[in-house]
């Protein structure tokens, strides 16, 4: 087992290097630079912009810039943002809690909806409940989050005036009021993201459960005289959840990566909005760092999913 993990980690190194190289080259080839705002300011002669480019090494050849970056990265130096002249790691760490809170809550909400609804729908396939759940799931994942987000804002903020639609990180309250405010402002983004995730996950849970529920051992369990609840929870779900666990594990990196569109709509200062604003301003070090961390997490969670798989289903052996 540990040998397997070690081997997988070693294999991950070249693939991460390759990912970083591709990312870097794509970003370096992308047009634009972080100082474009200076270009039309008559107060700032173009030489200033050129000097800044030179100082930040943007005029060096791509391979040199890559070597510099990877060497610094190996030392744990993530570089600094061209736009805010601040260390990239501080910038990311500052954004991380918000992303974890909002996206994490959304994932939990999605699970809380998807698992019971999916399993229940599978136990009574083609019943009215199943039909309704299916229809809602289809509607749910056909509606993009930017649409539902704006819809929610129009209904709950503009018309009803119940919820704020600008997320604030410094709520001026303490104790229980602070907690309540934190929950209140997260309701809309969490609902938008959570419902979207829940929709596709429900379909997945339902089909996974359906596959298992028809198997002979389930019939045997029923024949033994076990109650419906016990059969479903102890016998069906344990096996049906194996693919679901994989799916969830693979979605974990997204929890760290943030949700670009939703964060933008609700002004949530998470990793997603950091990424999009850095891309728009050509802030290469930040984009590199965020995407690279994301790549690492994908590789890592893939491994975790595989290990979990073996643990949940001893029939699968890891070599």
């Amino acid at each position: 087992m540990s040998q397997y993990v070690l081997r997988r980690l070693l294999i991950a190194i070249p693939s991460l290097l390759a990912i970083s190289l591709v990312l870097f080259v794509v970003l370096a080839l992308a047009p634009g630079d972080p100082f474009s705002e200076l270009a039309t300011n008559p107060n700032v002669p173009p030489e200033v912009q050129a000097a800044l480019r030179a100082k930040f090494g943007l005029d060096d050849p791509i391979y040199l810039r890559y070597v510099h970056w990877i060497a610094a990265m190996a030392h744990g130096d993530w570089g600094f943002s061209f736009v805010s002249r601040m260390n990239v790691d501080t910038l990311i760490l500052q954004r991380l809690p918000t992303t974890l809170y909002v996206i994490g809550s959304a994932q939990i909400l999605a699970l809380l909806i998807a698992i019971p609804v999916g399993v229940y729908a599978a136990t009574k396939p083609y019943s009215p409940f199943d039909q309704i759940a299916n229809t809602l799931a289809f509607i749910g994942f056909s509606l993009p989050t930017f649409f539902t987000g704006i819809l929610f804002i129009l209904i709950f903020s503009v018309t009803l005036d119940w919820l704020p639609f600008v997320y604030t990180t410094d709520i001026k309250a303490t104790g229980i009021r602070w907690v309540l405010e934190m929950i209140r402002q997260a309701i809309m983004p969490v609902a938008v993201l959570g419902l979207f995730q829940a929709a596709s996950m429900t379909r997945f849970v339902r089909s996974a459960t359906l596959d298992v529920i028809r198997l002979d051992y389930v019939t045997t369990a029923r024949a033994k005289g076990l109650g419906q609840a016990k059969v479903i929870v102890k016998h069906v779900m344990r096996n049906a959840m194996i693919p679901v666990v994989t799916l969830i594990a693979l979605q974990m990196p997204a929890v760290f990566g943030g949700a670009i569109v939703t964060e933008q709509i609700f002004r949530i200062p998470g990793i997603g909005s950091l990424l999009i604003s850095s891309i728009l301003s050509n802030d290469t070090p930040v984009v590199m760092a965020v995407t690279f961390v994301f790549a690492c997490l994908v590789v890592l969670f893939n491994l975790i999913a595989d290990v979990l798989y073996g643990w949940l289903d001893p029939r699968i052996s890891l070599r």
Partner: protein
């Protein structure tokens, strides 16, 4: 003649026979705007009025929180690193300059004890130096006193190329010396009629020497206080998260009486302009939102029964179509739009004039910019004293068609005009942006009716405005026949704005397209007028020269001005912001208050 009369009028004001306002009105009547009139008076020896901003609050604080929403959040808080206005706006909450521009283009003293003038000995007669007196008793947020040393240090800091300050061009060519503890002298290499650049406005913010002294030059990025400013401003720094949030609290030792009004200040970033407008105008979650680049229709709809309104400030920002004088389709020595070529179609002045007749500015205003725009024939639209009254514009497809007919451009196959085998086809590029694409469509339609085939192209803003030498789609490369964008006027003086188009500034491969004259316009008269204006110390003559430059650009149809754009913000019905088209939004933040 005007000159003589003016001098006697200045004399009248000096002796008190004529009041300042009457003087400005007289000048306005002959086409000189208020800011110009004021500088004329300043140079004529009358002190500039210390703008009497109405400010009713009678005590410091007590105003509760002020919540600002910037849809692009500030990413750094060192005014000398600020790449965009958003960063300048954020820094300005904490740092202050000697003076800032008010709505009329007057200087409003902030850290200065008084505005320099000839009368108070601040301005040298040869226009080669200016002496500023610093307000006594001003304290930095950490309690240390503000002295002349801080100003001298700021100059050294910004002028050092290793610091990589964006304000290096403001401070690079001057010398700053300490006269006394509370007085500095700024020395210019050549006579500089526009002396109010260094230590004024956004790039004028002074840094505390005792905080930044160890971080001048190459170590500038490492200064911990780049992220936690120590300034002299009305608000003290509390918290900063780049791109997301700035928080400040009232500075109890602020140097102006009864200011600031608000107890705390908060600047939230992120999102988009429309939802920012909504948060201020419709739901009232925020008090003020910056830069409402939103169609007027949308704003009008939001304003119906809302909690806020849009507010406008007039500056000199101009949205224009520029004409390429060189050939973008022929490559010479590895460069298109080379100075060695001539544009095959647009070098014909009749075609340029016809194009100007085909831009329906009134429709563009009605359909797109609404209250945020004014139609104009001029490239230079402010301050008033520099605005030409000699120009005019009109929209007429018939006149344009006739002009092209007369010039030999006959309608050929498919209704497209041609002459000597050259088809009247133009590539029209701009940056990707809703209003711009709509303007393109309006212009294209009129051109089609007149027999000109226009191909539209839009380039992502981050590419269009980048200085990337390798990219063919940047505006200075100008690999198109005509292009449209906006050039903001960041100070109430046309020198930098107009200097761009001298022949020595032509954008070309040899200067890595850093020359600012992107239309590649060459006119000896223009060069001469700019050269004369730059050393002319007589304000009236100087204004005349710049008006002449504007008229030359108009006569030669170098630009087709599309819209004189105003600054548009959204503001709560109760907050009274102090805004100016000549300054950044927060440049007079100490004067903001809320009406009960």
């Amino acid at each position: 003649m005007l000159d003589k009369k003016l001098r006697s009028m200045i004399g009248d004001v000096k002796d008190g026979r004529m009041d300042r306002r009457a003087f400005i009105q007289r000048l306005a009547a002959v086409g000189l705007t208020a800011p110009l009139a004021n500088q004329i008076l300043a140079l004529g020896g009358v002190a500039m009025a210390q703008s009497p901003a109405p400010y009713p609050p009678t005590k410091r604080g007590g105003g509760g929180p002020l919540k600002l929403l910037w849809w692009q959040g500030p990413t750094l808080l060192n005014p000398h690193f600020a790449t965009g206005t958003k960063d300048q706006d954020g820094s300005r909450l904490f740092y202050e300059p000697l003076a800032s521009w008010d709505a009329d283009g007057n200087l409003n003293p902030i850290l200065a004890a008084e505005i320099p003038s000839v009368a108070n000995g601040g301005l040298a007669a040869d226009a080669k130096s200016v002496t500023w007196k610093i307000k006594p008793g001003v304290k930095w947020h950490d309690g240390k006193p503000l002295t002349a040393d801080d100003f001298v240090f700021t100059w050294q800091y910004a002028a050092d190329p290793a610091t990589a300050a964006v304000s290096v061009s403001t401070y690079g060519d001057i010398t700053v010396e300490k006269v006394s503890d509370l007085s500095i002298r700024v020395l210019f290499k050549t006579p500089t009629p526009f002396w109010a650049n260094a230590f004024v406005g956004a790039y004028g913010c002074v840094l505390p020497k005792h905080v930044f002294a160890d971080y001048k030059g190459a170590k500038s990025r490492e200064a911990p206080n780049n992220l936690s400013p120590v300034g002299t401003g009305p608000y003290k720094f509390v918290e900063f998260k780049p791109g997301d949030l700035i928080r400040g609290e009232l500075n109890p030792d602020y140097h102006m009486p009864n200011r600031p009004y608000f107890d705390t200040i908060e600047m939230k970033g992120g999102g988009d302009a429309v939802s920012a407008a909504r948060a201020v105008i419709q739901t009232g979650e925020f008090d003020f939102a910056w830069n409402m680049q939103v169609e007027d229709d949308v704003l009008l709809r939001l304003e119906k029964g809302g909690k806020g309104k849009t507010v406008y400030a007039v500056g000199g920002d101009i949205e224009f179509i520029a004409i390429n004088f060189t050939d973008p389709n022929t490559e010479v020595d590895g460069e298109r739009s080379s100075m060695k070529t001539k544009h095959p179609i647009l070098s014909d002045p009749n075609v340029r004039k016809a194009l100007a007749l085909l831009v329906d500015r009134e429709s563009v205003k009605k359909a797109i910019y609404g209250r945020a725009g004014r139609t104009t024939a001029n490239y230079l639209n402010g301050p008033e004293k520099f605005v030409s009254k000699n120009t005019s514009w009109e929209f007429s497809i018939e006149k344009a068609s006739k002009m092209l007919d007369d010039a030999g451009w006959k309608v050929g196959a498919e209704g497209i005009r041609e002459k000597d085998g050259k088809k009247l086809k133009l590539l029209y590029q701009t940056s990707t942006n809703g209003p711009r694409q709509k303007t393109q469509a309006i212009v294209k339609q009129a051109c089609q009716k007149a027999g000109i085939d226009v191909e539209l192209k839009s380039v992502v803003a981050s590419v269009f405005f980048s200085s990337d030498v390798a990219n063919p789609d940047t505006y200075p490369k100008f690999y198109a026949d005509i292009e449209m964008f906006q050039i903001p006027m960041t100070q109430p003086d046309p020198s930098l704005h107009m200097r761009r188009y001298i022949s020595a500034n032509v954008a070309a491969k040899e200067n890595k397209w850093q020359g600012q004259n992107f239309p590649r316009y060459v006119n000896k008269d223009y060069d001469a007028a700019i050269a004369a204006a730059e050393t002319e110390t007589d304000p009236v003559k100087r204004a005349t020269l710049y008006i002449k430059c504007n008229d030359l650009l108009w006569q030669d149809t170098v630009f087709i001005p599309v819209m004189h754009r105003l600054l548009v913000d959204a503001c709560s019905n109760t907050v009274r912001p102090a805004l100016s088209g000549w300054a950044n939004r927060t440049d007079n933040i100490q004067d903001w208050y809320r009406e009960a």
